[in-house]
């Protein structure tokens, strides 16, 4: 989905005065099936591009968020997940790798609330330890994507012309590529598929969209009055970017990034499910679900617990992103 071919988001040299439009936010990953199958993304994350933000955007947003019950609940849950990821040992004293084949697939019972997995390992401990992998990958990948997106998007949006054309073309190519397939090809032959390798592939999945969002913000910000004024006053490019454009321009990027974390977490699970994600003996929800697929009828708990955990975590990020978007949209106030 290349919105550089749409006048609303064109990087064409002859159309400097474009506005960012909602469709810019549509670009959710090109023909990468798994990601397209998993994105509700920033449906209206970029309304803000058309209007000029007030200086206290973030302050206002925060005040509004604080009062929303959904936001509070999902934040608390997220905090809980984070604690679990950092110190799973706080919540269980079982060793997630200790195998006792005689206990294979036993259902939830006293002392083992999630039962046992196929190799007779305590499932509760495994689901807890799996949180770490999902959160780390999700946050790491999106963090890097955001940084890359901000840098490239700013350059493309602010300096326009050649840089814009170059970066936009690269993003186009990226969109045309079925990046998920590319990821599968890549991962299929890597000798080792650890956290870093999988993260590496996933990073390439999301950066064009974020970059475009940033670019749109920068483009509209660049044309605004106060920026023109600052330029006239002799402010350097860097200062203009840092003080005027970035603070508000980042908003749509942050919204989409939040939801992205959920998408990336889901994508890692999908890759593991396809057999090209993390390698054994990693503890990942995706691997657990993959193991469970043939025993859904006989041992449903194998699918249910990691599936629920995964869905819940992703849900948290989606709710968070939604709430952020609502809070950051001045028109909804």
């Amino acid at each position: 989905m290349s919105d550089t071919q749409r006048p609303g988001g064109s990087s064409d040299l002859l159309e400097p005065d474009e506005e960012a439009r909602p469709e810019d936010a549509i670009a959710a990953g090109g023909p990468g099936g798994v990601i397209a199958e998993g994105a509700i993304a920033a449906t209206a994350a970029v309304e803000g591009g058309a209007s000029v933000y007030q200086a206290s955007l973030w302050g206002d947003a925060w005040r509004q968020l604080r009062r929303k019950p959904l936001f509070i609940i999902s934040s608390v849950l997220l905090l809980l997940f984070t604690v679990v990821a950092i110190a799973p040992g706080l919540f269980t004293n079982q060793d997630p790798t200790f195998q006792d084949l005689s206990k294979t697939v036993q259902a939830p019972q006293a002392g083992h609330p999630f039962g046992y997995d196929i190799l007779g390992r305590d499932y509760f401990a495994r689901v807890l330890y799996g949180t770490r992998v999902s959160l780390v990958i999700g946050l790491l990948v999106v963090a890097i994507d955001v940084v890359v997106a901000i840098v490239l998007g700013s350059i493309a949006g602010y300096y326009g012309r050649f840089w814009d054309a170059l970066i936009a073309r690269i993003a186009d190519i990226w969109f045309a590529l079925p990046t998920v397939l590319a990821g599968i090809v890549f991962l299929n032959v890597m000798g080792e598929r650890g956290l870093l390798q999988v993260a590496f592939v996933l990073i390439f999945l999301g950066w064009p969209t974020l970059m475009r969002l940033m670019r749109s913000s920068v483009l509209s910000g660049r044309e605004s009055d106060y920026v023109q004024a600052a330029k006239a006053l002799g402010a350097s490019d860097w200062r203009i970017m840092r003080v005027h454009i970035l603070p508000n321009g980042i908003a749509p990027v942050i919204v989409y990034a939040t939801i992205s974390v959920g998408i990336i977490i889901s994508a890692e699970a999908a890759l593991s499910f396809l057999g090209v994600g993390l390698e054994l003996p990693a503890i990942s929800w995706g691997l657990m679900i993959s193991d469970a697929q043939n025993r859904i009828l006989t041992s449903p708990h194998l699918l249910f617990f990691p599936g629920a955990a995964l869905s819940l975590l992703v849900l948290c990020f989606i709710i968070l992103g939604d709430a952020l978007r609502d809070a950051l949209d001045p028109r909804l106030r």
């Binding site: 989905m1 290349s2 550089t4 071919q5 749409r6 006048p7 064409d12 439009r21 909602p22 469709e23 549509i26 959710a28 090109g30 023909p31 990468g32 099936g33 798994v34 397209a36 199958e37 998993g38 994105a39 509700i40 993304a41 449906t43 209206a44 073309r169 690269i170 186009d172 190519i173 045309a176 590529l177 079925p178 998920v180 397939l181 590319a182 599968i184 090809v185 890549f186 299929n188 032959v189 889901s266 699970a269 999908a270 499910f273 396809l274 679900i289 697929q293 859904i296 009828l297 699918l303 599936g307 995964l310 869905s311 819940l312 992703v314 849900l315 989606i318 709710i319 939604d322 028109r331």
Partner: protein, 307 residues
């Protein structure tokens, strides 16, 4: 408008070459000898290996291989699998199947998504609206493979409503997988429609129309919808192309012999020609769909026409 189209066409060219070269490089730069794989755990004579390597240009440098490949495509020759089966025939068999699946998903997500989105958008804050928001969140959070298995087991085996595998039962075979495949885009479309509609309903020109005393149906039908649907339509336009190449998981779960499953198996079997062939075709489709959508956009948004 002609200039607009021409420009888009020109921009498409480097995209095509860039994308296809990257795919080609990735596939053929893979370590591991695919000829070796053909023989499984059994030995293969050096002579046979040598002949096959020559036949498939496996010893040429990458750029040369790529060049020969593109040259072949221009003549409609997408190469052969290592068993000697022409890739173009494989594509001719698989693409229509995936197309039918994608079309089914498309129709499903389009109709239901639009319908739900419009309902929700027109009655912002109502029960319908909240229901939509919450249910879409849940559908989006559940991974597609879990969704697929649940559908297969619930509707296919427990209640035997739909066939669960293959495409032997005619069009009914596509129902379940289409629904699963389209479920996430459905969420997207519903929300996009809703948001777009909500936004437009608040805008000045709608307020003017209402103030003028126009009946609601006219206001919505003639003004609000038309503008709200632009982003949705552009998304839909490209989604079809996206669905075509990406339905790997769905095709696997439901045993649909389409392009997605084919690529996955080909990657495993290191059948480079198949992977590159299908992906290249997919890229071409994608670019064409994009151009088409750009055209559509020009039609819908008059500002574009006058460039």
């Amino acid at each position: 408008m002609g200039r607009y189209i021409a420009r888009r066409l020109l921009q498409a060219i480097p995209v095509f070459f860039g994308a296809t070269f990257i795919v080609f490089a990735m596939v053929y730069a893979i370590p591991g000898d695919p000829i070796r794989a053909l023989n499984g755990e059994r030995p293969i004579s050096d002579s046979a290996m040598q002949q096959l390597h020559e036949r498939y240009n496996l010893d040429d440098p990458l750029l040369v291989q790529y060049g020969k490949y593109i040259w072949g495509i221009v003549h409609g020759d997408f190469g052969k699998t290592f068993r000697g089966y022409p890739v173009i025939d494989i594509m001719k068999e698989k693409f229509p199947v995936t197309f039918r699946l994608a079309l089914g998903a498309f129709v499903f997500e389009g109709i239901v998504g639009l319908f739900a989105g419009i309902l929700a958008g027109l009655k912002r804050g109502s029960f319908m609206d909240n229901l939509l928001l919450i249910s879409t969140m849940f559908i989006a959070a559940i991974p597609v493979f879990v969704l697929g298995f649940l559908a297969q087991i619930m509707l296919g085996i427990q209640f035997r409503i739909f066939p669960i595998a293959g495409i032997y039962n005619g069009w009914i075979s596509y129902v379940l997988p289409s629904i699963v495949l389209g479920s996430l885009s459905l969420v997207y479309i519903a929300r996009l429609t809703r948001t777009s509609l909500v936004e437009n309903m608040r805008s000045d020109y709608i307020r003017t129309a209402e103030a003028k005393g126009l009946p609601r149906s006219r206001v919505v039908g003639r003004h609000a919808l038309r503008n709200s649907l632009i982003p949705v339509v552009t998304y839909l336009g490209v989604d079809l192309g996206t669905l075509m190449v990406g339905a790997i998981i769905t095709e696997g779960i439901f045993n649909i012999p389409g392009v997605g499953r084919e690529i996955f198996l080909a990657i495993r079997g290191q059948e480079g020609a198949v992977v590159v062939g299908i992906v290249t075709a997919g890229i071409m489709i994608f670019i064409v769909m994009n151009l088409f959508v750009d055209l559509l956009y020009a039609v819908l948004d008059p500002r574009i026409r006058y460039e």
